[in-house]
Amino acid sequence: MGSIFNLQQIVNGLQLGSIYALIALGYTMVYGIVRLINFAHGDFYMVGAYAAYGAFYLFNAFVGGGAPTAFIVLILAMAAGGAIATLANQIAYKPLRYKPKMSSLVTALGVSMFLEYFFSAFPLIGANPRGFPDLLPKVIYQVGPAAISNYFIIDVAVAAVLMGGLTILIQRSRLGRAMRAVSQDKDASKLMGINVENIITWTFLIGGMFAGAAGLLAGMTYPRIDPYMGILPGLKAFIAAVLGGIGNVPGAMLGAYIMGLAETFANAWNSLLGAGIAFIILIIVLLVRPTGILGEKLADKI
């Protein structure tokens, strides 16, 4: 059988990690800014996938396939993810912002349930899984023992571009500075004249857009979508964010790739291990270093 740590598995792991990274970033940014574990985030990813599906069929009829269509579909998937995230924030999270944390968490669960069951129930969508169309013709390159498809390159490239863009945004732009300020100290930010609610809205928007992009990539790469597809990846991406340090943007990226690789290797070894590895990682992180690899310790003033 040979070692499980071969090139093919590494490729698969990086591919999976790219998708997890895009989801994890949304989780970590939202947590960093409002200290909320947004359980509905995985469902924004699902909405992105379905939006991409719908967009493809729409555009294919008019414009035909190929790279331009794929690009438009990506934009639309991101828009859908961003839109649903912003909506959820406005309607369900914002009113509970200053109430006890539990109520926000329960509401997030409600939003998650709503999205999943609505997409199941809605006659045009339905609960049955759908096959995702080939946006671009699939080409497979043989690199040594590994079969690498152009989808791998697309997944990693799109993720890299988006992550790079986000990093520049956070480090260099006014919005990014404001986001960092608000996640450090909301009250001080208000006193500095920052419109905190605005920044929160932007954070949800960007996080949702990334989730939408991830949904498209996942639909393309693992071509099956269903309304519940967001539950497990969402959970695992969240664990990845915790692994890297919840609230920490580079941490989410790091954690996601570690998670993608770990899951791929574990699955190759044994399917039981593969199913459970994410949670084992979670337990170990929380026991050994709850703040994650790149996270900081927060002190309590007594």
């Binding site: 669960l109 609505f118 129930a121 539950i231 199913a275 949670f279 929380l286």
Partner: protein, 331 residues
């Protein structure tokens, strides 16, 4: 202890039991209603046991159904796989009761094992730790072929009838009520209110956090066992993160820390789910368009969000109805 007045709660419970039995005998309450009542009662047990952990002790457990799973599988294994009991023989019922209690004990042990490392953490971290453990339990059960693996444990004998479920529910409510309104219960409340202050008035907060967890796990195991013997199946997907999240909603809707609230919520939400289904069915019949059962969950989710937005503290908040309170604790 001069006059032995029968406690009000017991009297009301007995009367209620008699009423329900009478109504079902006469035919006013049909089998369908009884099923919903049975499920509601089991959810009372599950909700109240989670309320002890989240509402009273103020910890944040997101894996509570994992304990129910342990109870379901342990008791189910005993009655179905090991002893192969039949509910037709009256003599088997005491054995069934013991199996249920054993399920609770195993769940409590699991609670202890999980509790110790988890309860060092606080808030969100505790939540995701318990979530992780709950999922691990589900995955492990999914992979043990002896208890059916992904197919689940099938053919569990139907030992859970109205009387047994009712008695277990009554005992759960009374015992937990007694605990909460005792000095030990107040120690748990102190942990919830202000953990630092509790330590600084001599309360061993670690002990009480773990205790709440273990006792909550025990009763959750009982609930799981009863459920398995009602539905005649135990399946890993019944006890995953989503089920735990749903249970959290029950606790929240009723009011964190209110037993009365949990009882009302368990009944209200279980009945609501059924009524929504009925409504959907008639809508389908009337309009001819097929309204799938997912729609009821959509409505459920919307109602939930509305409760969270407009009555955040839940139905009862932290208050108890007079009936549930102990005599000397009333003002």
């Amino acid at each position: 202890m001069g006059n032995m007045k029968l406690p009000r709660l017991t009297i009301i419970a007995v009367l209620l039991y008699a009423l329900i039995q009478l109504l079902s005998l006469v035919g006013v309450l049909n089998g369908y209603f009884l099923i919903i009542i049975n499920q509601s009662l089991i959810f009372v047990i599950l909700t109240v046991s989670l309320n002890l952990i989240n509402g009273i002790t103020g910890q944040f457990s997101l894996g509570h159904m994992g304990f129910a799973a342990v109870g379901a599988y342990v008791s189910g294994t005993i009655t179905t796989l090991i002893l192969k009991l039949s509910p037709d023989k009256l003599g088997n019922y005491p054995i069934f009761v013991i199996a249920i209690i054993l399920g609770g004990v195993f769940a409590a042990v699991v609670g202890l094992v999980i509790g110790f490392p988890s309860l060092r953490l606080k808030g969100d971290y505790l939540a995701i730790m318990t979530l992780g453990f709950g999922e691990i339990i589900r995955i492990i059960l999914n992979n043990i072929d002896y208890v059916g693996g992904p197919r689940g444990l099938l053919g569990i004998p139907k030992f859970s009838n109205f009387t047994i479920i009712y008695v277990f529910t009554f005992l759960t409510v009374v015992l937990l009520r007694n605990l909460i309104q005792s000095s030990h219960g107040r120690a748990m409340l102190a942990v919830r209110e202000n953990e630092v202050a509790a330590e600084l008035v001599g309360v061993d907060t670690t002990r009480y956090k773990v205790l709440g967890f273990v006792i909550g796990a025990f009763f959750s195991g009982i609930g799981g066992g009863l459920l398995a013997h009602l539905l005649q199946i135990a399946h890993p997907t019944q006890y995953g993160f989503y089920a735990s999240a749903l249970l959290l909603v029950y606790v929240y809707a009723g009011g964190m820390g209110s037993i009365t609230g949990s009882i009302i919520a368990a009944f209200a939400l279980t009945f609501l789910t059924q009524f929504l289904q009925l409504g959907l069915d008639s809508l389908t019949n009337i309009t001819g368009i097929s309204f799938g059962s997912e729609w009821k969950m959509v409505i459920y989710a919307v109602i939930l969000i509305l409760i969270m937005l407009y009555r955040t503290e839940g139905l009862m908040g932290m208050k108890e109805a007079k009936i549930v309170m102990l005599e000397e604790e009333k003002k």
